[in-house]
């Protein structure tokens, strides 16, 4: 029987949806495999169509994007009820992703910057988005922007996760194949990715690491063959799951961790602290501090995609 699936985005950029489209001619196979009942970027189904479905009607929902506002949460809960399997698609749904960096700030700080202070904003009357407002006598509603960005599994029960920013297209395709063939692994598994660290699949040469200083990418040209970390560039490979096909590494760019942590690691960024500290050379406090001075913006580098899923989740008030 043909699968019934829904594809939705919360606080996302649409990159995950494009990754589905990037399966190219395999998209036709996906269309053979499954009927799609919701996909805002590509099809015209509305929320009312989803509300009209029986609970558990959909075999699977691919949910990309984090939970940033009340609409994201409501639709996530609605889709959870309608879906037999809820699948977090991509780094934002799994970890909060780049938009999760907003957890460094409060809701008010974000709103003020965006609507009042930003250089490109003209807002003389200081109008701010309101959850309900009256415009010329007409009642209008907007979702509530949340103070804390949440991952999908902080809001609803998630059955499977396909990591990546964006997930590799073929991995999405093979994950859909698992659903169609009823070959899904145990609940909670990460599908469509490896189970070892990125370093394991990275083709660069690795030797003994003794880092004496960190270079920013404009300070030195990396060589073509050696491990980035060994050359002094921060690379999140040791703390990141494999499966992306080393896309960034192959483009001479160190990893920033979009495939998320390995199994049993609850905090990718802090794991990276541990990994980086163990390959640094200095032993004296003074020398260590001098080296650490060359690590710019550690929190947002180590938690580039995972701040909302880190143990502490946000900056404390």
């Amino acid at each position: 029987m043909k699968l019934k699936i829904g594809i939705y985005w919360g606080a996302a950029c649409g990159g995950c949806d494009v990754a589905i489209l990037d399966t190219h001619e395999k998209l036709l196979e996906i269309a053979d495999m499954a009927d799609i009942y919701l996909w805002p970027i590509a099809m015209d189904f509305k929320y009312s169509d989803v509300r009209a479905m029986k609970d558990g009607y959909l075999d699977a929902v691919l949910f990309s994007g984090g939970v940033r506002n009340s609409e994201n949460e409501e639709i996530a809960k609605l889709l959870r009820r309608k879906a037999k399997a809820m699948i977090a698609l991509g780094a934002c749904a799994q970890l909060g992703g780049v938009p999760g960096l907003a957890n460094m700030y409060t809701r008010e700080e974000v709103l003020r910057r965006v609507y009042l202070e930003s250089e490109s904003t003209t807002n003389e009357k200081g109008i701010m988005p309101l959850e309900s407002s009256k415009e010329d006598g007409f009642d209008l509603e907007l979702p509530r922007l949340y103070n804390t960005v949440k991952t999908l599994n902080q809001v609803v029960d998630v059955d499977y996760t396909i990591p990546g920013c964006p997930p590799a297209s073929l991995q999405i395709y093979s994950a859909l194949g698992l659903i169609a063939d009823d070959m899904l692994p145990k609940k909670g598994s990460v599908i469509g990715a490896g189970d070892r660290a990125l370093c394991d699949e990275c083709a660069r040469k690795k030797g003994e690491k003794t880092i004496t200083r960190i270079y920013r990418t404009h300070e030195k040209l990396p060589d073509a063959e050696t491990c980035f970390l060994e050359q002094g560039f921060i690379c999140l490979g040791p703390a990141t799951r494999s499966g992306c096909g080393s896309r960034c590494i192959k483009s001479w760019t160190p990893c920033r961790g979009c495939y998320g942590p390995l199994d049993d690691v609850s905090d990718q960024g802090i794991k990276m602290v541990s990994a980086l500290a163990s390959v640094m050379e200095p032993k004296e406090e003074k020398d260590i501090n001098a080296l650490l001075d060359t690590v710019v913006d550690p929190l947002r580098t180590f938690h580039r995609f995972s701040l909302a899923s880190s143990i502490l989740r946000r900056k404390k008030a």
Binding site: G15, V18, I41, S48, Y105, P166, R300
Partner: protein, 63 residues
């Protein structure tokens, strides 16, 4: 007054909803397009190392 909601608007990148208000005769009295989504890139790119910015702002829109 009748109210028609097109929620979400589809086949484009981004979130949006359209609310149309109809008067007693069924003619359009007013219509609003609202963008319910905000992520706050304007805030959290502040102070980021400049060489990291291209890898962050590409996540504004992935289409």
């Amino acid at each position: 007054m009748k109210r028609i909601a097109i929620d979400p608007i589809s086949r484009l990148e981004g979130h949006g909803k359209i609310t149309i208000f109809l008067n007693e005769e069924g003619a359009v009295e007013n219509a609003y397009l609202q963008i319910p989504e905000l992520r706050g890139f304007e805030k959290f790119v502040e102070g980021l190392p400049v060489e990291e910015i291209p890898r962050v702002v590409t996540r504004i829109c992935g289409v």
